[in-house]
Amino acid sequence: MADDRLDALAPLFQAGGYHHIAPPILQPADVFLDLAGEDIRRRLFLTSGQDGLDLCLRPDFTIPVARNHLAEGAAARKAAYFYSGLVFRQRPDELGEIHQVGAENVGRTDRLAADADMLALAVEAVDKLGGRAPAIRVGDEALFIGVIEALGLPKVWRRRLRDLFGDRKRLDRAIERMAGSEAAEKDARLGFLAALEGADPDAAHAVVEDLLSIAGIEAVGGRSAGEIAERFLEQAALATGAGIGPQAAATLTRFLDISGSLEDAGAALEAFAKDAGLDLAGPIADFRERAKLIGERGLPLDAITFAADFGRRLDYYTGFVFELHDAGAAIAHPPVAGGGRYDKLLALLGAGEDVPAVGFSIWIERIAEGAKA
């Protein structure tokens, strides 16, 4: 059954200039663990090669396709791929084989238009596969980054918050912590930290580094004395309440709560920026332009939902993300397709620089479920 529907799909991709690609099923496990984190290990089917190399059955297509792309020429060259095949993930009480089709587009520098094209292609592909008119949900990490930059948060907090973007619960907890005083959870070192605070940063840095070297400590556990000193001082700044205060936290929460149709989202974001007194002109202009381009591709903007807190926790995703949900199913139901922009992936795989890239995958079985229901 699936095969018939896929036959109908190939011409759609080919018409858009996409070439079929079939990356190897066996992949080096390290790559996935490095990119997605140790937590993915329990979902991998692991095995080992003759030379002792850890291998896994590919758990997705995006990374294998990107590796093929890198292996075959200059990283930044333009290329468009489509694929169809199995990915393998350990799932309790379910078959570990999952059929996916999808597309990846690498190297287009007109990012906003590429985003819009990719979303339109995903919607058309789901339609061709017999999915009901899907509910579409979009997000944009660039806006979130814009907000935390504009709020002028300390570097530590910007990093903490970025790490958690896409996981609303954890993010809320972090914001709560940020609003309270970091000092509350610190200990006896507080006095020493406070004494350091306000001292000339270079001098303080030297003092701490000296202390460590007097104790005979050099690079231990892969971190240099300088690195330890630097973060120690960073803590000093936080501990004595480089007071971020409840104001910034409330503003951030207000931003994350923004959601609504894509048609109204631009205005809502502008109202927020004006009200909070933040300069978000750049990211909002991009956001509006992309929305316009999506509309021009025939997608109804009033039926697309934007949520400011929607993102992926994988750090190679850098901006626009989207999900297609079966129209009949609740939003909590897993999406039938998901995609987004991952400009950092090729750099992390060794390209040396960020390369614009965007793509999506469709879970065939979820469409089948939806169509039956």
């Binding site: 231990v220 892969g222 120690f232």
Partner: protein, 332 residues
């Protein structure tokens, strides 16, 4: 699997000695015909019981697989080697030995790191600085993963380490470790410190039952016999028997029960010495009370075994097995 009850116990080391001592205290002598090279044994005088001598980590796996009914192993291994331990196993009894903590330990030089929250910051910063994730050396892959996920830390890699884990940071094969420690002295010797909130698990040796094994009637009866003796010994060890002749035994027994937690296993009969079982720590106070209540002499003795109708070790196990049978026996 035959109908016999199979108990897996550690085949070597201090864990083995302690296990033998534990069973011996309950009057159960483990026999290993042929000595250390034999991997099967029995309990003297008990039919229907087989002892399997295995290494500690194998024991947890065999319990999970259901190829043994019960085993002696540490909680650390139960949680590390078994997926969904609460479902697959039943903790029958804590054996009171082998205490050790599974902990997160970092180099002492990391003066900026005291808590898991600090570690989270460092992990994220480290990746930006060095272009790779921080490495944790450990043999507790599952425990580590779960604990770090709970703390929202994703920027790390696990380097599996079979032994001498505490040396990994100094050797440069990992930045920090997750390991088991009893006193912490090995960690100190290797210039490592435990994070304030870095205790992942407090472990102790346990008698653990398998929820996936097939429990025949014979196996269950044998388990009852063994657990009865263990419970009887434990009961006997924690109470002393007090005998005293008092005027109004019923009233005295009631007061002794309320004030000192005593029980009167044989009732209180007028004109006969009152027999009380008193928690060992309260014996002296109780004796004083009895003399105040008119007893001319109070005799206290130590007991060997106290068998009771309900068994705190066997009853919960039996209940879970009954429940499992009702829910549909997956192993059959």
């Amino acid at each position: 699997m035959s109908d016999n009850l199979i108990i897996a116990i550690p085949s070597k080391g201090r864990l083995q000695e302690n296990t033998h001592a534990f069973f011996a205290r309950a009057g159960l002598t483990i026999e290993r015909p042929g000595g250390d090279r034999n991997y099967r044994g029995r309990i003297k005088g008990l039919d229907g019981v087989e002892i399997a001598f295995l290494s500690a980590s194998e024991i947890a796996r065999e319990i999970s697989a259901g190829s043994v009914h019960m085993g002696v192993t540490g909680l650390d291994l139960v949680h590390e080697s078994i997926d969904r331990p609460a479902e697959m196993t039943h903790l029958v009894a804590s054996l009171g030995f082998g205490p050790a903590d599974v902990v997160v330990a970092v180099p002492k030089a990391w003066i900026d790191v005291a808590t898991m929250a600090d570690l989270s910051d460092v992990a994220s910063d480290f990746r930006g600085r060095h272009g790779r994730r921080m490495r944790i050396a450990t043999k507790y892959v599952r425990l580590t993963r779960g604990f770090f996920a709970d703390h929202g830390i994703a920027d790390y890699r696990i380097v599996e380490s079979a032994g001498a884990t505490e040396g990994a940071p100094a050797a440069g094969s990992a930045e920090f470790i997750v390991d088991i420690t009893t006193t912490g002295s090995t960690l100190v010797a290797n210039n490592l410190k435990i994070l304030d909130d870095g205790v992942i698990l407090k472990s102790k040796a346990h008698l653990v039952a398998s929820m996936s094994a097939h429990w025949s009637g014979t196996a269950l009866a044998a388990a009852r016999a063994i657990l009865d003796r263990i419970a009887a010994e434990e009961n006997a060890r924690t109470v002393k028997e007090i005998r005293a002749l008092v005027a109004n035994p019923k009233a005295v027994a009631t007061v002794a029960g309320e004030s000192y937690g005593c029980t009167a296993p044989f009732g209180a009969v007028e004109g006969q010495p009152l027999v009380l079982h008193c928690p060992a720590g309260d014996v002296a106070d109780c004796a004083t009370y009895l003399r105040d209540a008119g007893a001319s002499s109070v005799v206290v003795s130590t007991l060997d075994y106290v068998f009771e109708t309900t068994n705190p070790f066997f009853s919960p196990l039996e209940q879970r097995l009954v429940f499992r049978a009702l829910a549909g026996d997956k192993s059959s």
